[in-house]
Amino acid sequence: MLTAVLAGFFVSILLIPFGKYLKNRLSVLLVLLPALLFGYFAGFIPAVSAGNPVYSHHAWVPSAGINLDFHLDGLSLLFCLLITGIGTLVYIYAVAYMKGHPYLDRFFAYLSIFMAAMLGVVLSDNVLLLFIFWELTSISSFFLIGFNNDNADSRKSSITALAITAGGGFLLMAGLILAGYLSDTHSIREMILSNAILKSHSLYGLVLLLVFAGAFTKSAQFPFHFWLPGAMKAPTPVSAYLHSATMVKAGIYLLARLFPVLGGTDYWTVPLVIIGGCTMLLGAIISIFKKDLKEILAYSTISALGVLVFLIGVGTEAALTAAAVFILVHALYKATLFLVTGIIDHETQTRDISQLSGLRKLMLPVAIAGALAALSSAGIPLTLGFIGKDLIYEATLHTKLNFLFILTAIAVITNIFLVSAGFLAGIKPFTGSLPERLSGVHLPHWFMWMPPLILAFLGILFGSFPGWVGTSVLQPAAAAITNNTAGSPLKIWHGFNLVLLLSAVTIVSGTLLYLFKKTTAASSYPLLSAISAEKTFKRMGDYVKGFSTWYSNTMHNGFLRSYLLRIIIFAVLLLAYRVINGEPLEISLARISTISIYEIVVAGILIAAVYMTVTSTSRLTAVVGTSVIGYCICLMFVFYSAPDLAMTQFTIDTLTLVLFVFVLFRLPPFLNFANSKVRLRDGIVSTSFGVLIGIIALQALNEPIQTDISKFYGENAYTMAKGRNVVNVILVDFRGMDTMFEIVVLSIAALGVFSLINLRLKSSEKE
């Protein structure tokens, strides 16, 4: 199974070197990948439908709790078959659709990565592994949406899509890790066993919030739905495959998969029903106001996804069964409609429904596919759509929730609009008279029209004979969601009851809506544009950017002194906090020695020299001042038994003085830029810093000194290291390593000075 999941990655890696040989018809070989995978997964149908899920385990990063654990049960199988089955048809379609495109190899590479990632999502038993594949679907989607990369809209849409889905992804990651931490396992199967702990934990709400954030963004739920219409910038096969049939359903899959772990509580139901309800209603309504075929389909997809979230939220067995069925229903008809749209777009160069009509005369097989899909979408009896719709109404009518009426009403209204939208996309372009402009259009290669036709027929086939697909695929899927191995059988015919009535009302109203509504742009409905979340997000994005600009420019204002000031203030605050909160200061006289007049004088001169240096208006005087400071310190070193230090300090100070003098003599006058307020502020900050250092030093002075190491040096300097000057022995022996690398510092400084003065870059050496 590992090989099956990773096959797509291998193929795309192989495409890097060999891609250029696949430019033309050879690319049809790539169809083998999804086809073989489909065969492989189809082979599991008997076992899975018999209630025997398949497991596979490979160690990967056990210490992080991530292993390649795959679990093929009914739900996974349903998705696997959709992914590989529709994948096969999309590959075939794409071979013709993308024919002659210079980057065909890239296209299939991305598509294969996507397929593999999607398989990984639906097969992973490990939540973190699931997340890894989840992110990979976002990334491959990013590349596919931006596939036409010279188009600015494409790029923008791909970034928006990535931002939304990956942003949600990070939240999901946090949620999954939290769930894993709370239930002490990363295996979904094991989480199901300990779901009671999870649901009763105080952080359960947080887990849900984070998981929902992931699922909603991925499955384009309100208010995150707006990325999906933008994603239609991708080539049509991609829209069909990712953005209707598979990837957007990853969120649905996740909710379904985690239903036994997290579902069933009010925290679960209420948000999902509300968000799902809003999404389905909104998507459906907007869809019929759109003129672009792909946009119509995009919004109806959003609506359908809302329906699925809604159903999973409702969470009854019937609802979940309905969800399982509707996943298949929607995948079949929506993929068909997208592929049909792709053909129309490909052949007529337009997707504007107001300009499209009568195409049945030129491309009959396409028209048939479109019509069949539209019928299935409308839920006409004998289509799989009919069964789906029935189950939805069944589910809404039989919940234990309040506001049952409202829920049903929403479902009905949504479906009415969806019927209309389906007709708009699947029937409208083919009916009526053929405009002059389109007379040159002809039927494309059969690679393109065959896949939608197959999908459309499958919809009818499954609708007419639901028995096999119901028992072997859909029922196990539903059972997996409910975690109930004995699912109830799939019924097509519920008798003449309220559900049937609602179905009839839906179909009739939808058809009427289709027939009498004039195509109007959504923008003419201010209400609909007002609730467009895209603008809110854009405004939020602008706000964040504006804030970032303000913040970064304020923080990083280009003035070294203000950076230094902040660093010092930070230090002062921390040190002051520590000092004030510490034990009261005690001055012990244990380490205090007597003081002589010459010490006072030297210290006094030092202080005055510091004053002179700081206040001087002449650079030279300041430099003289620093020299005096150095020489006073030199004298102190002599007083306190450090002749080596005194020597070094004196020579180095003299040399620094020489250096300073040489650099200074062409500088312009010393100006005092700061006003007295600034000087006062700086004075306060720097004084408090100095005082704090003093206090801390005093505290440190109170600690008794430990002299083990200097005693060791005293004892061994002559006997072992053969030197009498212990300081020098330390420098060249005990701590010779310090000296060694300190002279390296000097060397580098010399080298740096040399190059700084002598090196002038040529104008050609820009960087």
Binding site: G558, E599, I629, S641, A642, S710
Partner: protein, 118 residues
């Protein structure tokens, strides 16, 4: 005497910092120098100070006969002095370069707008 040194340390740190906060690069360098001196005295003081007992073993003796100043802080300061000399020398030359580039030692004149990035 320690108290006096403490005052000196506080003074050198605060004036060093004060000079760092000026606009002139010469003052900045002077500030770094003052800070360096402050640190050296701090190390010297905390290593405990001893008058008139340099850590040099007498001729004909192989060990110290009486107490002597702690040589370790001295060695540390020596290293620190030399290192700061290297840094300071480089910084002073950098000051020269700054002057050549902008004809002043005002650090604000040095700021290069983002548009000039390569």
């Amino acid at each position: 005497m320690e108290i006096l040194l403490l005052i000196l340390i506080a003074l050198l740190y605060s004036t060093g910092i004060y000079m760092l906060l000026r606009r002139s690069m010469v003052k900045l360098l002077i500030g770094l120098g003052l800070l360096g001196n402050g640190v050296n005295i701090l190390i010297f003081l905390l290593g405990s100070i001893t008058k008139g007992k340099p850590p040099v073993i007498d001729d004909k003796a192989s060990l110290f006969r009486d107490i002597y100043a702690d040589p370790i802080p001295q060695a540390l300061i020596l290293t620190a002095i030399v290192i700061s000399f290297g840094l300071q020398a480089f910084a002073i030359v950098l000051l020269k370069r700054v002057y050549v580039l902008v004809n002043s030692d005002d650090l604000d004149d040095l700021n290069t707008p983002e548009e000039e990035d390569i």
